[in-house]
Symmetry: C3
Subunit: 154 residues, 3 copies
Amino acid sequence: MEYRIGTGFDIHRLEEGRKLIIGGVQIPFEKGFKAHSDGDIFFHALTDALLGAIGYGDIGQLFPDSDKKWEGADSSIFLKEASRIVKEKGYEIVNIDCYILLERPKLLPFREKIIENTANILQIDKNRIFIKGKSYEKLGEIGRSEAGSAHVVV
Amino acid sequence: MEYRIGTGFDIHRLEEGRKLIIGGVQIPFEKGFKAHSDGDIFFHALTDALLGAIGYGDIGQLFPDSDKKWEGADSSIFLKEASRIVKEKGYEIVNIDCYILLERPKLLPFREKIIENTANILQIDKNRIFIKGKSYEKLGEIGRSEAGSAHVVV
Amino acid sequence: MEYRIGTGFDIHRLEEGRKLIIGGVQIPFEKGFKAHSDGDIFFHALTDALLGAIGYGDIGQLFPDSDKKWEGADSSIFLKEASRIVKEKGYEIVNIDCYILLERPKLLPFREKIIENTANILQIDKNRIFIKGKSYEKLGEIGRSEAGSAHVVV
Ligand SMILES: [Mg+2]
Ligand SMILES: [Mg+2]
Ligand SMILES: [Mg+2]
């Protein structure tokens, strides 16, 4: 079996009155991602990277945000479906790496739990998944804590 | 033969009175990419990713925008040349994944044609190429439809 | 041995009165990266990509910028340590590709030296490392030469 590569990206605005959810973990913060679903930028970017690696489709096409069905949806549903498709097509995940651009809060205290959630959904070993948070040095909307983005390779 | 990895990026401003060309497809829109060549961000980023993976050079070095020769050039020329070099060095392309950050218009209706064009130029199977469009959530210049970017891995 | 993938990113503000250091090369320019260490965005992003590929940790965790020890530090120290860990865990580096977003100055004249420095630190062949500079088309802070970023895949 050959090695394929995939890349995924997601960005959402941060606003008050929303829960901040990354990798299925609810992170205490005064803002959360504005989105049709739960706004989980890591699960969205990872779903796109997995589906892109096998050339199957993308998250906006499979789970359109115009569909009432996905309103407030738990994004693990999208990731689970991507994982099912990857396996069905005969592929296995070797490893996942990701950086999250988020000015605040720090991601490190939640990393272990995010990796654990992801490993459970994908049914792969935890040591095949990594995620790191990076500051955007107070530049632009991300730097002003008005948005956050996820950048994934698989 | 070992597996090598490459990454490419391109960004151009959108302005009125230019054709919007992505992956060799002319997409109906009121603006197009401002560039010395035809401004095809996908072909530019892909050319850089292929040349970077084999450590050969980059698009700005091989096809300088100070050269009259490339004024208004069809960017498939750059991609064709990158493909020729990759083959000459004894490498084969396994797969390509990409996301395009473009607020409008949606890329999905043009995806099949973009993939077909790319497959023809590179002489590889269509299922080895994937491309997805993403919104930048109305943030910054990309979000205001003043620019668009391409992010490629190979 | 399986092939793993990693991705790293770094961004710093440019300000007057600092040296501009990329890949261990001091580049003549009127500004340099503001950082706790020497602000070498390429070595920082590469360190993160290598550590992320093997799922070990990240640069902020291993070399916290709250630690006096790393004040003004030569970032080759971080890269050397990442390289040591990668080898200790039984991995080898196949290749590295990178793009640097920097409006000015052009990176090309310094590329050979950056690649040489990196090859020496990692003790791998120069043809396994590539780096290219890209303009951000005068957009945002990067386009105004107020910041620069590095985007690495391994
Ligand atoms: Mg999303
Ligand atoms: Mg271009
Ligand atoms: Mg840094």
